[in-house]
């Protein structure tokens, strides 16, 4: 039988081949030869019939699923790295179950924005480039090549002519232009990364497969934010426009992409099922592929552990796993627990503008008083100490001259003596997220150590929205605020700009309200410097300033707790944008 998707795909292929000078008759011959399907006749009929006089191919035995061999353009665009037309392995595609504590609240690629949403957006949409590995590196997907001008203000991307949307229409430069415009117009979710550097009309189609970005300001890390630019099918989105919403209501739980999976079932709060496209244009790993996957919501740490041990799920994101359950899984045969540090940073934000913490010597005293090793112990060793404001995968951007603060009570006393409060005698408020045990434990460690400096610590737990509200002004921002920061793009710009550029003061990541014109200039210059070496040099200077000013107490970066079963093949940890399921397969 021929379904609508096959018909649409066949039509798209036929159109594509016609543009390459291949006649319909030749196309159907190719289809019969490579597709080898019993339903070729039905496809021909559905496509509007062959040219007069065209031979109807003899009906072969197999199903007529267009293969990558047939789909590959004659022009010979080379397949992207790591992908092959069809899995050559002998593994039978199966359905993988992924356990996560977080729902997929909104799949709209230009609205929803968190790790669970991103993981699944990556399944149904393609992007120009994507992240892979740790440290994360950029890899082409829709783009075959790209280049920028000297000051990184103009970028040109060539698109892969093989790319097709799920309805069979080719992915064109105009779809990229529309996607950029929609993202900027919506001004939601991931738009915050783009709105400062591009406008609604910044992207322009040079030809059907070339798109040019003219930025408002030079921005060297552009390719690093482009994995967040999901390309939508303009035609499909416009078909679902309601009162000018550009399909926003529809795209909440539908898709208009060209990615490796399509939505099969959508049950908010429970599970979300996705089905693999066997003929995904970009291809699958040579070892095998999934038949699909289920994003299963499991909220409790112990339930995640039991589900893994019971074989109900194959992999868990691990964000909800507590130290005890991680330990149990480390000892369980048949499971792997990831031991790589991620891109998260835990820091105690110090209010740099008000109260005793506005004194740099008090901040240094606190930085030396913190018992860093005790924190690692509290985390059962599943964390690494930070050596500055950036996480371990971005270590090259931290100046080698930076000497990280480590527990030293003598130095703490020495710096307190240099401050306006040589004998202590004041109280600091430590604010942390209610119910987050590790933040509470870190507060207690500070309470203990600072009491030795005659500094009292008042512990205050709050729900996160209240902490966000407290961070807004210098007057309300706590003296000390426990904050975990993640990242959306693997570049120091993401961490340093949002936390220390003076324009960001008042956002939770900038709860320290740090203001330093010299640092602002360095961060701005690093954004515009296209040379990697130049950027490294600028960030070295920036990190020296930040550490010297002891802006915050940079403590630790936790190891990723992703756990996967032996049965999962192809998993490679990447600490950014959630989880990419296309490279996975299940072993027999």
């Amino acid at each position: 039988m021929v379904d609508e998707r096959q018909v649409a795909l066949a039509k798209a292929l036929m159109t594509h081949f016609e543009t390459l000078g291949v006649s319909r008759r030749q196309f159907f011959k190719l289809l019969a030869k490579y597709g080898g399907g019993a339903s070729v006749g039905a496809l021909i009929a559905a496509c509007g019939g062959a040219e007069k006089g065209a031979e109807t191919p003899a009906a072969p035995a197999a199903e007529a699923t267009p293969t990558r061999a047939a789909a590959s353009p004659a022009a010979g665009a080379s397949p992207a790295a790591g992908a092959t037309p069809q899995p050559t392995g002998q593994v039978t595609p199966k359905v993988l179950v992924f356990g996560s504590g977080q729902d997929i609240s909104n799949l709209d690629p230009h609205v929803g924005h968190d790790y669970s949403i991103a993981s699944n957006q990556r399944s149904v949409y393609d992007t120009l480039v994507r992240y892979q590995g740790n440290p994360p590196e950029i890899e082409n997907v829709l783009a075959t090549q790209y280049e920028s001008n000297e000051d990184a203000s103009e970028w040109t991307f060539k698109l892969d002519p093989r790319a097709v949307f799920h309805d069979g229409t080719p992915v064109k430069a105009s779809d990229v232009v529309y996607s950029v415009g929609r993202l900027i117009r919506k001004n939601k979710g991931p738009a915050w990364m783009f709105v400062n550097v591009m406008g609604e009309n910044s992207a322009r189609a040079i030809d059907e497969h070339t798109v040019k970005f003219t930025l408002n300001t030079p921005f060297a890390p552009l390719p690093l934010i482009l994995p967040w630019l999901f390309i939508v099918n303009e035609k499909v989105v416009k078909e679902h426009d309601v009162n000018g919403d550009e399909g926003e209501a529809w795209l909440l739980d539908h898709e208009a992409g060209s990615g490796p999976f399509v939505i099969k079932r959508w049950q908010p709060g429970d599970s979300y099922e996705f089905e693999a496209l066997p003929d995904y244009w970009w291809g699958w790993p040579k070892e095998g592929r999934l038949a699909g996957y289920i994003w299963k919501i499991i909220r409790e740490s112990s339930s995640q552990r039991l589900a893994l041990l019971n074989g109900d799920v194959h992999i868990v994101a691990g964000l909800e796993l507590n130290a005890e359950d991680v330990q149990a899984l480390l000892n369980a045969p048949g499971f792997h627990v990831n031991n790589e540090p991620g891109l998260s940073v835990f820091a105690v934000k110090l209010n740099n503008q008000r109260g005793p913490t506005s004194d740099v010597n008090v901040r240094k005293a606190i930085s030396y008083a913190m018992d860093y090793e005790a924190v690692i112990e509290a985390l059962n060793g599943r964390a690494v100490l930070l050596e500055g404001p950036l996480p371990p995968p971005l270590k090259e951007y931290v100046s080698p001259n930076v000497k990280p603060y480590r527990h030293d009570m003598d130095k703490a006393r020495e710096y307190l003596a240099k401050s306006q409060y040589p004998n202590g005698g004041f109280e600091l408020e430590y604010v942390y997220v209610v119910g987050l045990d590790i933040e509470e434990q870190i507060g207690l460690i500070l309470l203990d150590k600072l009491s030795q400096l005659n500094i009292r610590v008042r512990m205050q737990s709050m729900v996160w929205p209240d902490m966000v509200a407290r961070a807004k002004t210098v007057e309300t921002a706590p003296d000390m605020m426990a904050v975990y920061s993640g990242t959306s793009y693997a570049d120091p710009d993401n961490f340093l700009w949002q936390a220390y550029h003076s324009s960001q003061a008042g956002f939770w990541a900038a709860a320290s309200h740090y203001k330093n014109p010299q640092l602002d200039k360095l961060l701005e210059a690093a954004r515009a410097a296209p040379s990697h070496d130049e950027r490294v040099r600028l960030y070295h200077q920036a990190t020296e300033i930040l550490v010297n000013d002891a802006v915050e107490v940079w403590v630790q970066s936790q190891l990723s707790n992703v756990v996967w079963s032996d049965k999962v093949g192809g998993y490679r940890y990447c600490p950014i944008m959630g989880y990419y399921l296309q490279p996975l397969w299940l072993k027999d």
Binding site: V97, V111, K188, P268, S271, E300, S303, L306, V468
Partner: protein, 337 residues
Amino acid sequence: MNFGLYLLQRLALIVPVLFGLTLLTFTLSHIVPGDPALLAAGPAATPQMVEQIRQEFGLDDPLPIQYANYLKGLVTGDWGRSILSRRPVTADLKVFWPATLELVLAAMAIAVAIGIPLGVISAVAHDRWPDHASRVFALMGVSVPAFWLALLLQWFIALRIDFMPIGGRIDTQIGPPDHFTGLYVIDSILARDFTALKSALIHLALPAFTLSMAPLATVTRMTRSSMLDILGQDYMRTARAKGLAERTVLLRHGLRNAFIPTLTMIGLSLGWLMGGSVLVETIFDWPGIGLYAVKSALTLDFMPIMGITFVYGVVFSLINLLVDVLYAFVDPRIRYT
């Protein structure tokens, strides 16, 4: 006044109750500190993005205007959207409410099916071993924390003897039956999908049993206590003197008269279970309204909070009304005139 008029009057009285409830919820949710727009905008959103969200959700309007808009929407069926997911609240309630309802009804069915016979046996065997055993059982029921029992059941029944699933509403590979009511057990019967029915029932068993423990204990003790009062009544002796079978005496003359306090308790427990199911829902990953409520409260998502409270208000009011109406059926002496 006839019964119909009484019913209309009681229904009319629910309206001011619900109005008061919406006013209270709206006021409370808007005076707590925190800025939902800032939170929804994301980690590094620009001030313009935050402002845009404020405008989109009408958060920049004066509070009386916001409340008036909310009431207008409530009446016209537009209960607002979640500021975080942007899903309509009514769509979320349609998904999450039936899950909780199914769990609560199953838990109450277990509590009634076991608790009432146990209470009767306990009363009849007053101060003998069945009575003591039921007392211990009831004491355990109210004392054991639901989350602990849930974890214990998960560990033993789901993991050690691999007899039941550890969570969810239905096998992920099977998927839910066609949607009629949203209650999977009923839907799978209506769809004649017996694979789904079996899966729905075994998924329901552990969470429903866990949730039933507290009401089971109170139903047992309440039935026992009421039955003890009734057993010594003259009419019971008369019934026996007439030569009625002991079973008929106990069930028709005893239990029916003893049932009024138990019925009140069941009604109240239903409301309590709906509000208190969150722990069980969390551990068994039961995608119900309790989880939805907690998540919304923690993220200051006003519209879902108000929608959930409103639904709870309606359910509590209707349960109270239903219990009052049922009194008349259980005890014919009660008349609403």
